[in-house]
């Protein structure tokens, strides 16, 4: 330290003061509620991240950290419903408007999050998830027996390890990535976003992946049991997954633009549709 120049020392002091000031401006609040099975939790946060974690027990714990006195957090309980909402006390934008939420809920609770800037994460849940964010990155993993509905404008969406899920994803320009996602119904719609699916399309479900101009990339193991069709109207399709050709496909097959076939017992219906994007199906 003794060899440190005065300039460096001043900088360190300044950084230290800034850090203290930043810490002092942070205001962490914790709200705790006890709920019955089937509770519903709604979080509305105009700016900043929302993390949802499922846990054992019957408590909802909401930890909200504000970074300025221009916003406040309202939490209330009405019977089995919990609402947490960010309110603006003054019109503000940027870092001052940000609130960080960490929410611990019973894993069977239904959770609705609206967080335009996000990111939104949810994990270890068995209850329904409805997640909405304009530009929010959305990440959902380790969810079973639940409906997962995600809607974004431009935020990328990633789902991993979802079993017996009813999954509906709609995004305009967000890229969508699904890893080991299966269930009775999985549907993805995007405009320019790309769609990547890596898994076995299990559980005899209906899978529908649709976009306008992004790529659709599917990787599945040889053991997958699918009745698969792919069509890109003005784009292209590629397939290196072994399929048995169907006698009566739903549309006329055009080389390079569409294909259809089954593997194993064809238990799950898989439809891949693009208007002008590239669809690629690969064997894992």
């Amino acid at each position: 330290m003794g060899r440190m120049s005065n300039g460096v020392k001043c900088s360190l002091v300044a950084v230290g003061l800034l850090a203290v000031a930043a810490f002092a401006a942070d205001n962490r609040k914790e709200f705790r509620y006890t709920v019955a099975p089937g509770a519903s939790v709604t979080v509305t946060n105009e700016s900043g991240p929302v993390e949802i974690k499922g846990s054992a027990g019957r408590q909802v714990v909401i930890i909200a950290t504000t970074h300025s006195d221009k916003v406040e957090v309202d939490c209330d309980q009405n019977r089995n419903r919990i609402h947490a909402t960010t309110h603006f006390l003054q019109r503000t934008d940027g870092p001052d408007s940000r609130v960080d939420y960490q929410v611990l809920v019973p894993s069977d609770a239904s959770v609705t999050v609206r967080a335009p800037s996000g990111p939104i994460t949810a994990e270890k849940m068995r209850g329904d998830l409805t997640l909405e964010g304009d530009a929010a990155q959305v990440d959902v993993h380790d969810v079973s027996n639940a409906h997962v509905h995600v809607r974004t404008i431009s935020g990328p969406i990633s789902l991993g390890n979802i079993a017996n899920g009813h999954v509906e994803i709609t995004s305009l320009n967000g890229d969508v990535r699904l890893d080991a996602v299966s269930g009775p119904r999985v549907s993805v719609n995007t405009v320019k976003g790309s769609i990547r699916y890596n898994g076995d399309f299990g559980e005899g479900g209906e899978y529908l992946l649709v976009n306008h101009s992004g790529n659709i990339d599917v990787t599945l193991p040889a053991s997958a049991s699918v009745d698969l069709s792919a069509r890109s109207i003005t784009g292209s399709v590629e397939n290196d997954f072994p399929l048995q050709q169907k006698q009566h496909p739903a549309f006329a097959i055009t080389q390079g633009r569409s294909f259809a076939g089954t593997s194993n017992s064809g238990a799950s219906s898989v439809q891949l549709r693009s208007l002008s994007g590239k669809i690629r199906v690969k064997k894992r």
Binding site: P116, H147, N173, R185, V191
Partner: protein
């Protein structure tokens, strides 16, 4: 007329206006005037409340099970794809009364366009479809609606304006491409479905924009 007498007849005045004596009191008394203003404001704001959200998907699972148990349906497998955004807008009869919100009106017009399109595009493919589907009816109003939606976003969330503008261009390109394809081949049902999905995406954009109202 004093305040007590005025407030006695207040429920009727709110509904249908007062007689000259009551109106005179309203003009001269700030307390009663504030009260009437507040009550009308509450009623007007209530008219603009939207349907809150969809029920848990478990509700449909329950209904489907009951329908099957009661034998009310023929045993058909599968589900119909649906579009809650536009549908929810259309089922709002009282939105028409909230005419002061230009953006709401724009959304309504837009939704009508969607249903107009949907009703026409789902008929069996035949040559006449070409003339119906890509016709200019919804398109003419679309530019104005788009401008109003962007104005609304600029007012409510200026930081997100660029995101909305960019995505509006993307989704309009999707609609144009799907229409072009339908013009080339009116019997291409895949293209019809892309067009409807493109409108669904546009409805999502409008709905997300409108969700910012009042927050």
């Amino acid at each position: 007329m004093n305040c007590a007498e005025f407030q006695e007849v207040l429920p009727d005045i709110i509904e249908s206006g007062g007689n000259p004596e009551e109106e005179a009191h309203l003009k001269s008394c700030a307390v009663c005037s504030d009260l009437v203003q507040d009550l009308r404001y509450i009623a007007d704001t209530a008219k603009l409340l939207l349907p809150m959200r969809d029920p848990s998907p478990r509700v449909w699972t329950g209904i489907r099970g009951a329908l099957q148990r009661e034998g009310l349906v023929r045993p058909l497998a599968g589900t119909v794809r649906f579009r809650p955004q536009a549908a929810a807008v259309l089922s709002q009869r009282r939105w028409v009364r909230g005419g002061s919100m230009l953006a709401v009106a724009a959304l309504l017009l837009f939704a009508i366009g969607i249903i107009w399109l949907r009703n026409n595009s789902t008929r069996q493919p035949q040559p006449a479809v070409t003339a119906r589907v890509p016709a200019a009816a919804p398109a003419a109003a679309a530019d104005d609606d788009d401008a109003q939606m962007l104005n609304f976003v600029q007012h409510k969330s200026p930081a997100l304006l660029a995101t909305y503008r960019e995505n509006l261009e993307s989704v309009n390109a999707y609609i144009r491409d799907a229409r072009r394809r339908i013009e080339q081949d009116p019997n291409d049902m895949g293209a019809h479905d892309h067009l409807i999905r493109a409108y669904d995406e546009k409805a999502l954009l409008y709905e997300m924009a409108m969700a910012r109202s009042g927050e």
